[in-house]
Symmetry: C2
Subunit: 461 residues, 2 copies
């Protein structure tokens, strides 16, 4: 496996206004501090996502479960949101196909379709539930807390339909993935004899891609989950180091933090030049945004804004802004060495210059030329960028990529001076939702909601 970060174009030697060698040397101390915080968290057993990769605990049982049940179903439906959805989606796109559910049985090698219901729009929920054959469908209900409102609502609807159509057999079409001990789902599993897998208590939603949250859906559609874990474990070894320069997670996290806090490059674009890695962008956005967008203990709001993009597509959308807009961005290119397929462009219209030069080349040639051209153009204009190259898109590399960014996030948390593992900012919205939905035990929330003062003037058009 090789995952390599080339960050030449983040540095002032290549890009005007970039990070100077001095600033980079100076950052060693800040990283050393972040590393210490990491070590403490690890000793305090807060970083369960690492154990997932190193122990592989429970993987045998998970694979047994997937083997035993998977073939019985034509459709898997994940009911989950946020970290319970983004991992499965990213793995499906990267390691199976971006159009997996549109493939026929043979093209899917008789593995089931995998739907991920990551929202509660009734239009979508209806569409998916109407489309699947319930008797051949398995619902994976995924919630760390076991009480996520959106997932509970989906679960109630799915269970209602299963009971109506299949009677007592309903429970064979449900699997819960939740906390080992706590929460409503765990209680229901016990009471009703529903199969339930564990998300370790020290693994938060956005760090759960390599727990059963990501691995069970992955295994059910035939992804090599052992290779995912092995790739993550290999990457962890590289990232578990005090030496900034040889630690890829430390390099990524420290560069982004420096670019933000010393150069005002606060918007961090994640731009794969690869359709299979497109949904990886959504997974990264949650990880980076929810972990680092925080109020520091001193009361200061910090945190970079991660933004998804796609090459070459966004050259025709966002790149104008990246090239000429404010100097407030970094761009990370995600690049694949060896693609699974290539297509030669035939020689037609040899007399028309807009087409002739393409003939005989391949789509991968063009994609790579455009990516190199874009990186060079950005660099010429003082726009910081770096390139992360995967040899190929396979389970080993994707596992490595996941661990790379998870580790980078923990280090960045230390650098930004925030706790990368919590998300206190979403509590107020949750309380207000309970108040509006009339949850009986939300008495304080109701009082808080009612206390909101209506503004003297409303503005509308």
């Amino acid at each position: 496996m090789t995952i390599r970060i080339d960050y030449t174009n983040m540095m002032s030697g290549a890009v005007s206004g970039g990070i100077s060698s001095e600033a980079w040397s100076g950052a060693r101390e800040a990283f050393a501090n972040a590393r210490q915080i990491f070590v403490k968290r690890r000793e305090g057993d807060e970083l369960g996502f690492i154990n997932l990769a190193l122990d592989g605990a429970g993987i045998g049982a998970l694979l047994g479960f997937a083997d035993g049940t998977g073939q019985a179903f034509s459709d898997i439906v994940v009911l989950g949101i946020g970290g319970s959805a983004l991992g499965p989606i990213a793995l499906r796109s990267a390691l199976r196909s971006t159009s997996w559910n549109a493939l026929d049985d043979e093209a899917r090698e008789y593995y089931p379709r995998l739907h991920v219901l990551e929202n509660i729009d009734p239009v979508t929920v209806t569409s998916v539930l109407d489309r699947v054959e319930l008797g051949r469908t398995l619902f994976l209900v995924i919630s760390k807390s076991g009480g996520t409102a959106e997932t509970m609502a989906q679960y109630l609807i799915a269970r209602g339909r299963l009971q109506a159509e299949l009677g007592e057999d309903y429970h064979r079409h449900l699997v819960f993935i939740t906390d080992p001990v706590k929460g409503a789902l765990r209680e229901i599993a016990r009471r009703d004899g529903i199969a339930a897998l564990e998300i370790p208590s020290n693994v938060g939603g956005r760090f759960s891609a390599l727990s059963p949250v990501g691995l069970l859906p992955a295994a059910l559609i035939g992804i090599d989950v052992r290779a995912l874990l092995a790739g993550a474990a290999d990457m962890f070894t590289r990232c578990d180091s005090d030496d900034l320069a040889s630690n890829p997670a430390a390099v990524f996290g420290t560069l982004q933090w420096l670019a933000d806090t010393t150069l005002g490059r606060r918007n961090h674009i994640m731009m794969p030049y690869s359709d299979p890695l497109r949904d990886f962008g959504g997974w990264f956005v949650q990880l980076w945004a929810e972990s680092l967008g925080k109020i520091q203990p001193g009361g200061t709001s910090v945190g970079p804004t991660p933004i998804p993009a796609l090459g070459v597509t966004d050259q025709h959308s966002q790149v104008q802004l990246f090239m000429e807009g404010p100097l407030d961005k970094t761009v990370t290119f995600l690049v694949v060495g060896q693609r699974k397929a290539d297509l030669e462009i035939p020689r037609l219209h040899d007399d028309i210059p807009e087409l002739a030069y393409l003939g005989g080349r391949t789509l991968a040639d063009l994609l790579d030329a455009e990516r190199r051209a874009t990186a060079a153009a950005l660099s010429q204009r003082g726009r910081l960028n770096m390139t992360i190259t995967l040899d190929s898109i396979d389970a080993h590399h994707v596992g490595g990529l996941i661990m790379l960014f998870e580790m980078a996030t923990i280090y960045a948390g230390g650098l930004y001076g925030v706790n990368p593992l919590d998300q206190p900012g979403v509590e107020l919205g949750k309380r207000f939702t309970y108040a509006l939905m009339g949850r009986p035990d939300a008495v304080d929330a109701k009082r808080e909601w009612d206390a909101i003062r209506e503004p003297e003037q409303r503005w509308s058009v």
Copy 2:
């Protein structure tokens, strides 16, 4: 039709640190100036997107073409990128289904599937080309300039396959949508007798959703394109006004500009609480980013960064950052009054408080409660937000929404002091691509590329 913007939560009366009444009154003058620039552009016939809605020119022919050919095909494949792809995708998701291509013939009312190849990743291109039956597939080759590298490459591959499989019949499976006079596609259409529709010369890619670029794909899958245009025309009437307070496009554009330039709220989140409107976000991102991310004539880089989000999904991903991160964002909620479907949540587990309160309510209830809760929570924490409400998602409203944002973009261009119709920043990357692909006429580009100095030190890990 009603499309309403409630911007109370952008203002200091409701949100601490918001726009003051004085600043808002003061902005009238800036808008008056932007309005003048708009009027001049309109008089100079630069704003063809307006005529598309008002004239409906060519719509009869387009509908005739769609009726005559549409039913012969099971699959439509759009070959296009940027503005040639984002409009068709947004229309398909909003007005048909986010999973249109996964529906069976009956659920699609026997309209064809619509694939949009907006990238050149060979993995995706291969997957789509292998999946469709060429004899029942129509390729729409969409390029304003008629020479877009990515689209030309796709076209050559598709044409090669069509000729190999269908012989001389190939040309019945191709339609070009391009400039009326110029460009390689126009030349090929003439020479080889391939059907070609026109993108008016004064309609740029990102303003082309209501030209044949968006309308032909829409018509082919049964969307009411006359209603799209009528909705856009209605909205234009509201937006063609000197009075800031009653002009929705002016209000949206001026608020965002004020929030950016006077309050540092430069990141503009577009957050529909609706799956069908999700892809509208991608369309908006191109429009806002590519139109406004510019270097002013004086040499200053300006431009807001549009960011897509989705409610409620992103409450579990980006909202932590929106709530606690730096005060550099505005959030625009896109809300639907009447959804096409709703689902009641059954009363099960009445003894478990995490689930009991949901029983008897509907998914739309929960979705709306969460949106109101999120807006209120953001407001409490000084995070500016506004809410755009559509009565329902139908062609009339979607046409109106498109016109609203197109007009807002033109006004915002005037406010930011940039030309919203060009995209000079992408030229350098294009030249470098030509150099790397060895295009024979790219002599200057090759020299420019070769002149790039290799940095003294490369940095990698």
